[in-house]
Amino acid sequence: MHVVVCIKQVPDPQAPAGSFYVDEATNEPRWSPPAQDQISTFDLHAIEAAAQLRQAHGGRVTVVSLGDAEVEVGLRRALAGGCDAALRLDGPAGSSADRSETARWLAAAIARLAPVDLVLCGRLAADWDMGHVPAMLGELLGMAVVTPVVGLEYDGACFRARRLTDEGQEVLEVDLPAVLAVSNELNEPGYPTMRAVLQAQKVPVTTWTARDLGLDEPADRAAARLLRLLPRDLTRECEFIEADTPEDAGLLLADCLRAQGLLAAGAKGG
């Protein structure tokens, strides 16, 4: 089985909310102090899923990332996490508004890596929070799509995926090849051993350019573009209930909710 994992590096999504701001002149997100780039959370779960499948069923895992030389840090981390080969696509890492270019690059690379049985992505990248790429990849490659995946079962013949729906879950039988967008419930990625990290340094990272992939220049007028990025602040002043004991605080909170008219049933929204 040949599994391809697509990863992206993003500024630490768990950096404190207060460190985030918007550079209004350029419409760009900023962090002070700077947020460290790291592999996007759900992509780590995709790497782990690929490593587990290979361990159980053999085959090989190729990890792919689109962007400049800096993405090699993430690719090496993925190698240490159980991937066999790493590929960097020397193209524009996702714009702020449009994922079709990203999907086009990845699809061209995956087609060139054929045969591919499974493509694993994170359910969304923890920066612009779009989650378009796995769905778009499935279309461009003519593969099945399942998102977001919280469980996997493979007995060598039949592939089953469990996914979240609006209010519940679904177990699907999935035809391969397929693109699966992985959620965190699927597994718990471990930390690579020092040995694995050192070994990953020795694996060459292959680089493919637009020319290697036979991609022509993108249309110069992007059909989707970012007009404005606006900071959003949901914080407000909190009134703390002061009491001698936590039990008393509970009583006072109840009285406060009544006094504020917050217990009137059926008053949804507002």
Partner: protein, 279 residues
């Protein structure tokens, strides 16, 4: 609800309801109806079908919008969507010239359609042609028990976090206690899901469900940006947490610093009394 015409899509293969089928159905309907803009609900189905259709038709898309509008001058379709775990909003413009797709979040507080009986819009029925074979087949479905209060419909939601610690505490203090007394729906943070306190489908947040109740009672959760992305639209947030520095207090209107095991029982008891009196 303001539609000029309603088109019903009909095909035997739509019944199974898998995204594959809906992509095919919408592809064919768009070819026949030639719309300028296609708006889908940002639910599990729309979240997958939207980007797939955009890729298949090579047209632009903006998803997870809290608002969409037409820009009069440029003719652009502008979608406003949260990003960076809700710490920012981006306005994305889709240029005219082809079909444009947007997925729209369900508006906060508009769970019901006006009861007035509007004149029915004229309708057409599209009998879809091509047979369709999907790539996935449903083997099993887990759905909420009948009659369960949907998180999105509840006027009061109690959200629990890692601090609630055990499924047993969740059951006794929250499900059988506070939430029952308030008639509230329950959900929680990823911390609570990780601890096995609540099932994954009750997670609230960026990668969970989005609720906008009148009151959100946050118990033993820290208030991460990713969690607030799913409950920051509540009119009033009430927080109970042992840590006075917990970020949740920055979003809350009323806060109690204390152990929920001490605060919640007296709160529940008093609320029961108040609600009985006011009834």
């Amino acid at each position: 609800m303001g539609a000029d015409e309603v088109a019903f899509l009909r095909a035997p293969w739509l019944e199974a309801g898998q995204p594959d089928a809906w992509v095919a159905a919408l592809e064919e309907s768009c070819a026949r109806l030639q719309p300028d803009v296609l708006i889908l609900a940002h639910i599990t189905m729309g979240r997958e079908v939207g980007p797939r259709l955009a890729a298949r038709l090579a047209v632009p898309i903006v998803t997870d919008c809290t608002e969409v509008r037409m820009d009069g001058d440029s003719g652009a379709l502008v979608g406003v969507r949260p990003c960076f775990s809700g710490k920012a909003l981006s306005e994305i413009a889709l240029a005219p010239g082809s079909l444009r797709i947007a997925t729209l979040r369900r508006a906060s507080g508009s769970a019901t359609v006006s009861a007035a009986n509007p004149a029915p819009a004229p309708s057409v029925t599209l009998e879809l042609s091509a047979a369709h074979a999907g790539h996935t087949r449903v083997l099993e479905r887990v759905v909420p028990p009948p009659g369960a209060l949907r998180l999105e419909d509840a006027s009061i939601v109690v959200g629990v976090g890692r601090g609630v610690a055990t499924a047993e505490a969740f059951r006794s203090y929250i499900v059988e206690g506070l939430a029952k007394t308030l008639g509230a729906a329950v959900g929680g943070s990823r911390g609570a899901v990780d601890m096995g306190i609540i099932p994954a489908e009750l997670q609230i947040g960026l990668t969970g469900r989005v609720v906008s109740p009148s009151v959100y009672v946050a118990i033993g959760l820290s208030g991460s940006p990713q969690h607030m992305a799913g409950c920051g639209g509540a009119s009033t947030i009430v927080a109970i947490n042992t840590d006075p520095q917990a970020p949740i207090f920055a979003y809350a209107r009323h806060g109690v610093v204390g152990d929920f095991r001490k605060v919640v029982p007296s709160l529940t008891e008093r609320l029961a009394k108040i609600l009985a009196e006011d009834a």
